[in-house]
């Protein structure tokens, strides 16, 4: 499948609520931002005429030109730092780091400068920078191209971290991120780009600090984000068929975490399962488990359960990769374990 092929299924169905792919939604968001705010520009590796590795920025270079859609050389630390500077200089950069795997080369800039500058300067210098990057495994890209490191970023004060799981969030989180005076990192899950869903064309910017209940249920709460949300929903369908009613929460924001929404759900269900594509130990799932337990301990019917990726660099072979990442059946099984528990 070439990135061109990936594009062919993007024809918007002419339904009442228009449907579009996650990729097209993200592109629409970028186009809108470029069109409405002169300060906005995109930069990253092959974002221009190439159209981005995941074809997200396709066509934008032709529409807005090379100053607004700027190719960078392979120098992640350099161009993330340049994004910080451009933000300080009055622009509204959207920096694309091709994948989170390569963001490791830019972490100094993200953590030591973007996240700290406002504080170090006593509130004088904010960094209105948006970083977009893809995350996740599932395409047999092996150890160096399959990391889910959102949890690392979510650990850092001074950053905001969001993970749109639906085309609508892909479309409408960006304007809010751009309006935010702080650095915002957007994690796009690489397996979602071809997924379609309803996108309200006039909704307008949405909050980027609240979780959403994607499905109501009463027996347990499943907390998920990004690529795990659709798996959780599919699992909830299967559970429903088996007579178990699962509520599914899409975190949307990874920093800050919306514990209010999670705790409110838990108050109804008394049981929660956290599903996370990151590694288990010290991952985001740990924070959610710990934070929820602190808030809801006395009303829990069972310890919060975690389902995360196996503690292994993601393997290439399909069957091993599949085994390493939480799958729908794993979620179903974990839910049964949890609700059967006591």
């Amino acid at each position: 499948m070439s990135s061109l092929d990936a594009d062919t299924d993007e024809r918007i169905d002419a339904e009442v609520v228009p449907s579009m792919t996650y990729r097209e939604a993200m592109r629409e968001a970028l186009r809108d931002a470029l069109a409405t705010d002169d300060r906005v520009f995109i930069m990253g590796e092959d974002v221009a005429d190439y159209g981005g590795t995941y074809a997200v920025t396709k066509g934008l270079y032709e529409e807005f030109g090379r100053d607004r859609v700027r190719n960078t050389p392979l120098s992640e630390s350099g161009f993330v730092g340049a994004g910080i500077g451009a933000a300080l200089g009055g622009l509204r950069p959207i920096v694309e780091i091709m994948t989170v795997n390569f963001s490791l080369l830019a972490l100094d800039q993200v953590v030591n400068t973007a996240a700290t500058l406002l504080h170090m300067s006593g509130g004088q210098l904010n960094v209105p920078l948006v970083i977009r990057t893809t995350t996740g495994a599932g395409r047999q890209l092996a150890a160096q191209h399959s990391h889910s490191l959102e949890g690392w970023f979510a650990h850092v004060p001074g950053l905001k971290v969001v993970a749109p799981a639906t085309p609508e969030d892909a479309r409408w989180m960006l304007p809010t991120a751009l309006a935010d005076p702080n650095p915002v990192i957007i994690f796009e899950h690489a397996t979602l780009y071809n997924e379609s869903g309803p996108v309200d064309p006039v909704l307008g910017p949405v909050d980027i600090d609240r979780a959403a209940v994607r499905r109501h249920g009463s027996d347990l709460t499943i907390v998920a984000s990004a690529g795990m949300v659709s798996k959780a929903l599919a699992a909830a369908d299967l559970l429903s068929a088996a007579g178990m009613s699962a509520e599914v929460i899409d975190l949307r924001s990874l920093r800050p975490l919306d514990f209010d929404t999670m705790a409110a759900s838990l108050a109804r269900t008394s049981r929660a399962l956290v599903v996370d594509e990151g590694w288990r130990t010290g991952g985001l799932s740990a924070e959610i488990s710990a934070g929820l337990t602190e808030r809801c301990f006395w009303s829990l019917d069972a310890p919060i359960a975690r389902l995360a990726s196996a503690e292994v660099p993601i393997p290439y072979a399909k069957h091993l990769e599949t085994a390493a990442i939480p799958q729908i059946e794993d979620i179903v099984a974990a839910a049964h374990d949890l609700v059967g528990d006591r």
Binding site: F102, A143, A317
Partner: protein, 349 residues
């Protein structure tokens, strides 16, 4: 041109074998492309087609105690370093018999036996590692051993290139840096990613001897590498060669390849390192057309045998998923540590 004035006048066996090497890589990779179409190979697949003269020429100059590092575009390098077609193909099939046990795939071929250190999919990431391997050779007195590090011209923009060059020169380690300048890093041309496109000049700014070589001409590749290696083996210090080349295929199977003028691609294809060298060897009567046909045949047989073996090979059992994350240490002796700092006398009622 008379044969005696040709650089190919002697060493006929060498030239024949180099042609055969290039053909082996070409056949192997064209089959990979098909297998990708059939979904037998998955993930990212980066083909070396068009660039075979470099790996073939360089690898033919190496000794068993040399070390090799390459990028994600490394099937040819692995094959010519001596990793079997079967274990490479099996790797891409995700099989247990693959050279990385199916865990690495196309981008992560490894083989300890031939000192083939991969297969790195982080652009520039293996350059510092090469410096360290060279340092080990130097410190351990493995005299004459060289670490050969292949990378694309796109890597030159990365900070790790710069840090590695400086360390290599500063420590005078025996590393041969082989820059495969195929003019594009995905869709980005060198001109749009480097303010100064004379790459040999970059190396010079670290006081590393450097030169630029026609990477489509295996005779030039072989000659330059021989000379460079002689220098590295003798003096111990690093060298840098820029091989000017071109990839005939898209960056990867995901790349629609819209950023290059088809005429440019066609132009370069006229310089196909295999076709031109084959013609030359025939012209100079070093090989016959029949010899060449036999090379293709043999290569096809090798590749098909590899495919058949890969098909038939078992996969790793799922219960090995957590293998190879860490290697078991010798169990640490359990020694009683100094007594705990304090013990509470009182107990909360």
């Amino acid at each position: 041109m008379t044969i005696s004035s040709s650089p190919l006048a002697t060493d006929h066996d060498l030239w024949r074998s180099l042609l055969g090497d290039m053909i082996r890589v070409r056949v192997f990779e064209e089959r990979c492309a098909e297998l990708y179409g059939e979904s037998k190979i998955r993930g990212f697949l980066h083909l070396y087609i068009g660039e075979e003269a470099i790996a073939s020429g360089v690898m033919s100059c190496l000794r068993p105690d040399d070390a090799v590092l390459a990028t994600y575009r490394e099937h040819g390098h692995a094959l010519l370093r001596g990793v079997s077609a079967e274990s490479i193909m099996s790797e891409m099939f995700g099989k247990a018999t693959g050279c990385s046990g199916g865990r690495g795939g196309s981008m992560h071929l490894f083989d300890a036996a031939t000192r083939f250190f991969g297969g790195n999919a982080i652009v520039g990431g293996h350059l510092p590692v090469a410096v360290g391997l060279g340092l080990a050779d130097q410190v351990l007195g493995r005299s004459g051993a060289v670490t050969v590090c292949f990378f694309g011209e796109g890597a030159v923009a990365e900070g790790e290139f710069h840090e590695a060059m400086n360390l290599a020169a500063l420590w005078n380690v025996p590393v041969l840096f082989c820059c495969e300048n195929n003019r594009y890093a995905m869709g980005t041309s060198l001109r749009s990613s480097e303010s100064q496109i004379d790459l040999a000049l970059k190396a010079a700014s670290y006081a590393i001897p450097a030169w630029s070589v026609d990477g489509m001409d295996i005779v030039e590749v072989h000659r330059a590498t021989t000379k460079a290696l002689a220098s590295v083996r003798a003096d111990g210090g690093p060298m840098f060669i820029e091989f000017q080349t071109y990839r005939f295929r898209a960056h990867s199977m995901f790349d629609p390849d819209l950023y290059r003028d088809p005429a440019e691609v066609e132009h370069w294809k006229l310089r196909d390192p295999i076709a031109t060298f084959a013609r030359r060897l025939v012209d100079e009567q070093i090989v016959t057309d029949a010899d060449i046909e036999e090379m293709w045949e043999r290569a096809r047989a090798e590749t098909e045998a590899a495919v058949a073996a890969a098909e038939a090979a078992p996969i790793e059992p799922i219960d090995t998923l957590l293998d190879h994350v860490t290697r078991d240490a010798e169990p640490a002796p359990h020694i009683e540590r100094s007594p705990e700092t304090t013990t509470d006398d009182e107990v909360w009622p």
